[in-house]
């Protein structure tokens, strides 16, 4: 673990220094990955297959694919190629607090404003094969902040991270976190809501307000259209704007939840107000209400075998993913954690043990299924002609515990290359040593100067500069006093 941290820390600098960015920007327009076992996810496995990438997109998949003469060839004999891993629940790349926890409806806060392209977790997850992450506000609030889907384009500035065209989302949370069960400060008054009933009331209240707000805008638009003059427009409200977007189907709801009762509550409230819950996150009791979830068309994004860390997680079972999938729910496995995300392939594979899920269905839970849940399945999630060349090359089958990522590509660019990163370590360690030595030297010089400076006053007697000098009358030259 420690060694790994060091590697990663050293690697930060490579890319931030610009070398990797340049490498990526100068990526060849065509790349041919040859002789690999290709796990397409959408149409089975191709042994000794090739993937041709042109201008960032997958141009051909199959055996004996012909490539342009200038294509860069990656010989992947004995290796496995999969679509990039998609993490449907991530909190990486956020500058500042993950929660705007002061209010239980914090929909004015937007993760898109605070994407942190310097976060080392981007690199670490990339090294674990993750290419896309659904970056969510935390779960402190009934209605949390706005969320965004990003590509892990490590080394690019923050404004190049968002997944172009992906529908934005908003985080909801139910249960213990929004009612602050485990976060109470002694002596401090409880924040409303403090019960599951209160969480429901908070969501209802917010959407009632949002509907009223929408109506006031509709009325205003009508008046203006009718030619009325001097109409005062409603005041823009950044808290309510995203809720109106949810009502209009322009923004996805990703709802953190655990217990069956709160899951059913949210599905009822959504039906009543006329919006859809796009994904239920964690949803550890989802196996109890899988039919209802499937009927509502909500996706479920869960953990493999992570439970009992609080009361509402006691009824979790590792069969949850497999059971929900059997009842027709679209299921993905997510990380919720930067370290967990580095082995999401293995997290998915656990369902092969718990619930007997097929190899391909398990792989789908971290590729095509989260892509569908995030509405980006036309672009990513499987190896098909025309999709983005977001690919991972493993040395073993990714459902194996021995699988290690060799290369991660996004948009046809190699953003992680294990061999190159390891080879680059020495130079970075050297640079670090030199900079530390330089700082040390400068500090010593400064300290010497300060010592000299302290001796200086011995040359001067304070009597020479008497502070009690009296103002003298103005003279032609060397005038004293001024307007002090």
């Amino acid at each position: 673990m420690r060694a790994w941290t060091n590697v990663a820390a050293a690697l930060v600098a490579v890319v931030m220094g610009g070398t990797a960015i340049c490498a990526a920007e100068n990526a060849p327009s065509a790349i041919l990955i040859r002789n690999a076992t290709i796990l397409t996810v959408s149409h089975g496995t191709i042994e000794k297959g090739d993937v041709l990438i042109k201008d960032g997109k997958i141009a051909a998949v199959g055996t004996s694919v012909k490539a342009p003469a200038d294509a860069q060839v990656i010989d992947a004999a004995g290796q496995f190629v999969t679509p990039g891993i998609i993490d449907c629940h991530s909190h990486i790349a956020i500058d500042g607090n993950v929660n705007e926890a002061s209010v239980s409806v914090s929909s004015m806060a937007n993760i898109a404003d605070v994407l942190n392209s310097d976060d080392i977790a981007i690199f670490r997850d990339l090294a674990g094969g993750v290419t896309v992450a659904n970056v969510l506000h935390g779960s402190a609030n009934s209605i949390g902040g706005q969320t965004i889907v990003i590509k892990l384009r490590w080394g690019q500035p923050a404004d190049k991270l968002p997944f172009e065209g992906a529908k934005p989302g908003i985080k909801f949370a139910l249960g213990e976190n929004p009612k602050r069960s485990n976060f109470r400060a002694p002596g401090a008054p409880d924040r409303y809501p403090a019960t599951r009933m209160g969480v429901e009331a908070t969501i209802r209240g917010a959407f009632t307000e949002a509907k009223d707000y929408k109506r006031s805008w509709d009325d205003y638009d009508k008046k203006v259209a009718a030619g009325e003059k001097n109409v005062i427009p409603p005041q823009r409200n950044l808290k309510l704007d995203p809720l109106v977007e949810v009502l209009e189907g322009k923004r996805y709801v990703h709802a953190h939840c655990y217990r069956e009762d709160e899951i059913l509550m949210l599905l009822r409230v959504a039906k009543e107000f006329g919006f859809k819950v796009q994904t239920l996150q964690h949803v550890l009791e989802g196996y109890k209400v899988a039919d209802e979830i499937a009927a509502a068309g909500a996706g479920a994004s869960t953990f493999s075998d992570w439970w009992a860390y609080k009361v509402e997680a006691y009824d979790a079972i590792p069969y949850n993913a497999a059971l929900m999938m059997q009842r027709g729910v679209l299921v993905s496995v997510n990380s919720d954690d930067a370290a967990e995300a580095t082995h999401l392939n293995q997290e998915a594979a656990k369902s092969m043990l718990y619930g007997g899920m097929s190899h391909d269905d398990a792989l789908k839970m971290v590729t095509l299924n989260p892509a569908i849940q995030l509405g980006i399945e036309k672009r990513v999630g499987s190896i098909d002609v025309g999709k983005d060349a977001d690919l991972v090359i493993y040395n073993h089958d990714p459902m194996s515990a021995y699988a290690v990522v060799q290369k991660t590509l996004i948009d046809g660019r190699v953003y992680f290359d294990r061999d190159k990163e390891i080879a680059g370590r020495g130079a970075l360690e050297q640079e670090k040593k030199e900079l530390l030595a330089k700082e040390k030297k400068a500090a010593e010089k400064k300290s010497d100067e300060e010592k000299k400076g302290e001796k200086k006053p011995e040359e001067k007697k304070p009597e020479e500069k008497k502070p009690e000098e009296k103002p003298k009358p103005p003279q032609a030259e060397g005038v004293q006093g001024g307007a002090q």
């Binding site: 806060a109 001097n230 900079l435 530390l436």
Partner: protein
């Protein structure tokens, strides 16, 4: 004594002080035009009236021999709080009504957390701020000073660092609306996250625009329309923007700078970036947006007493190494930039920090411009200050050599045409005998009768003194204080009828009692300082 002191102050301000000077035979570096050797600068009644080589010096001018001296425009500190009274306590949430002492919990943008844009630096000038003199002594005649604390702390003003009354200082108000993206701290008050702060600032700009629009519509159609509410934040911000105050947006690292560029474009504001220390990575991007930058001179450095085991990341090390090269990168990219001292506590550290930027590739010409004409341009006062030009304000700094040379000393400073001597800081020559730390009762007799003061002193091991002296005349911070052997000396500045007046205390310390004299405005009287018991102090001076 009070009456006589006031009379003396008036005498000096009205009659005794020359208002016309000629610096003859100096090297003049005007900024904006080429330096002139052996030149004369004439100033009269606060403005520069002539510059040239063969000038006839007006008969009423006080002539200063400038041989061996260099005359520069007065330096401008692009963002600071020098010259302002200490920040109001609290400053936390206060709504349209405002004024509450205990800040209520802020539950959203409507509670206007950390927002006091109605505070105006021009209204908070404190002529007794001891930093004024130390900044002048470092060559600064002008500051862009802003109230501190909060997301919208208040409006900045351009101040000239000299004058008798607060109003004398103000060159332009408002000059800028500084914005920070700070959080309330803790989880109970909105905003508690960076994204919350950004959302909040965005909401405030929307509200400000809406307020202007709504008020306009309401005035035309008052009957039958629901009245838009009054909001002090919206009103004062709209007024300041209407007076073309620039908006200062923070951005120090590349991540923050790029974000600031985006936010400024989104908010459609006349924005200026402050921070800029990773300019070495993003200068061309700043240039592409034509954004001006205030560069923070408090360069990043290793934490003092940091855990030696905790080795910083390479990125952090690179930042510390390269930050001073940001100014050079901005110069090369063609970005307009100025320097500011805001994180620097003592004025004498400012020019050495500029020197670091020069050592890292910045041209000395650009460095000087970033301390003079560029900030004047950024804050819209270049027509009256920022360079030595006929008709501009007589803000000058006179040195005995190149401004950025370590050995160079500032000899005198002109602010609004008034001449200020630069006092050498006094340092003790001998180890102190005894310790002056503690509370002292100073008793003395003025022409008005017996008086006493309380001195709360603290002495460093080398004998340097700091602290305060209080009496019914006010409280002054101790400066130029020391105990050298058994000799002590310290000064305070007290406002006497609005005019800052130096009061000096000198004498000998026998290990138990201070005996010496107090001098102020030409008057001297003896005093005795004793350390009273707590009981007698409680009923004493205050």
């Amino acid at each position: 004594m009070c009456t006589s002191l006031v009379a003396a102050a008036r005498l000096r301000a009205q009659g005794g002080e020359p208002r016309s000077f000629a610096i003859r035979g100096a090297k003049v570096v005007p900024v904006g035009s080429a330096p002139v050797e052996d030149a004369t600068v004439v100033v009269s009644r606060g403005v520069i009236t002539a510059i040239g080589t063969n000038l006839t010096i007006p008969a009423d001018a006080w002539v200063i021999d400038g041989k061996g001296l260099v005359v520069y425009p007065g330096l401008i500190d692009g963002f600071t709080d020098v010259g302002l009274a200490p920040a109001q306590s609290g400053g936390a949430p206060s709504g349209a009504g405002g004024g509450g002492q205990q800040a209520p919990v802020s539950r959203g943008p409507e509670d206007r957390p950390l927002t006091t844009p109605w505070r105006n630096a021009a209204d908070e000038v404190n002529p007794s701020d001891p930093k004024i003199e130390s900044w002048r002594a470092a060559g600064f005649t002008t500051t862009i000073s802003a109230p501190k604390g909060g997301i919208f702390p208040g409006q900045a003003a351009v101040l000239d660092l000299g004058g008798e009354r607060p109003g004398d200082f103000v060159v332009k108000e408002p000059a800028a609306i500084p914005v920070s993206l700070q959080t309330s701290g803790g989880f109970r008050n909105f905003p508690s996250s960076l994204m919350g702060s950004i959302a909040y600032v965005r909401q405030v700009w929307l509200d400000t625009n809406w307020s202007t629009q709504a008020d306009g519509a309401y005035e035309k159609n008052r009957r039958g329309t629901e009245r838009p509410k009054y909001d002090r934040t919206e009103t004062t911000l709209a007024q300041a923007l209407g007076k073309h105050a620039v908006v200062l947006i923070p951005g120090n690292t590349s991540l923050q700078i790029r974000r600031a560029l985006q936010l400024a474009a989104e908010w459609k504001l006349n924005a200026v970036l402050y921070g800029g220390q990773m300019g070495y990575e993003v200068a061309p991007e700043i240039a592409a947006k034509k954004m001006a930058v205030l560069v923070d001179l408090k360069w990043p450095e290793a934490e003092k007493d940091a855990d030696p085991e905790a080795v910083p990341s390479l990125r952090t090390l690179r930042f510390r190494d390269r930050a001073p090269s940001s100014a050079a990168a901005l110069e090369k990219a063609g970005v307009k930039f100025a320097f500011y001292s805001r994180g620097i506590a003592t004025a004498k550290d400012i020019l050495p920090a500029v020197k670091k930027a020069i050592d890292a590739g910045l041209s000395p010409e650009a460095a000087l411009r970033a301390l003079t004409l560029s900030p004047a341009e950024i804050f819209g006062v270049a027509d009256v200050t920022g360079s030595i030009e006929k008709g501009k304000i007589a803000n000058l700094v006179v040195t005995d050599g190149d401004l950025f040379d370590k050995k160079t000393k500032v000899k005198m400073v002109f602010v609004d045409g008034r001449k200020y001597e630069v006092r050498e800081p006094i340092r003790p020559s001998e180890p102190p005998k005894g310790d002056l730390t503690g509370k002292w009762k100073l008793t003395y007799t003025t022409p008005e009768g017996d008086e006493e003061s309380t001195a709360d002193l603290s002495m460093a091991t080398d004998g340097t003194l700091s602290g305060t002296v209080s009496s019914h005349r006010g409280t002054g911070n101790v400066f130029s204080g020391y105990l050298s052997g058994d000799k002590f000396s310290f000064m305070i500045t007290l406002p006497i009828n609005g005019s800052p007046t130096d009061v000096s205390f000198t004498g000998t310390f026998d290990g138990k009692t201070m005996k010496g004299s107090i001098s102020a405005m030409g008057y001297t009287f003896d005093f005795t300082g004793t350390k009273p018991s707590h009981a007698s102090l409680a009923g004493g001076a205050q």
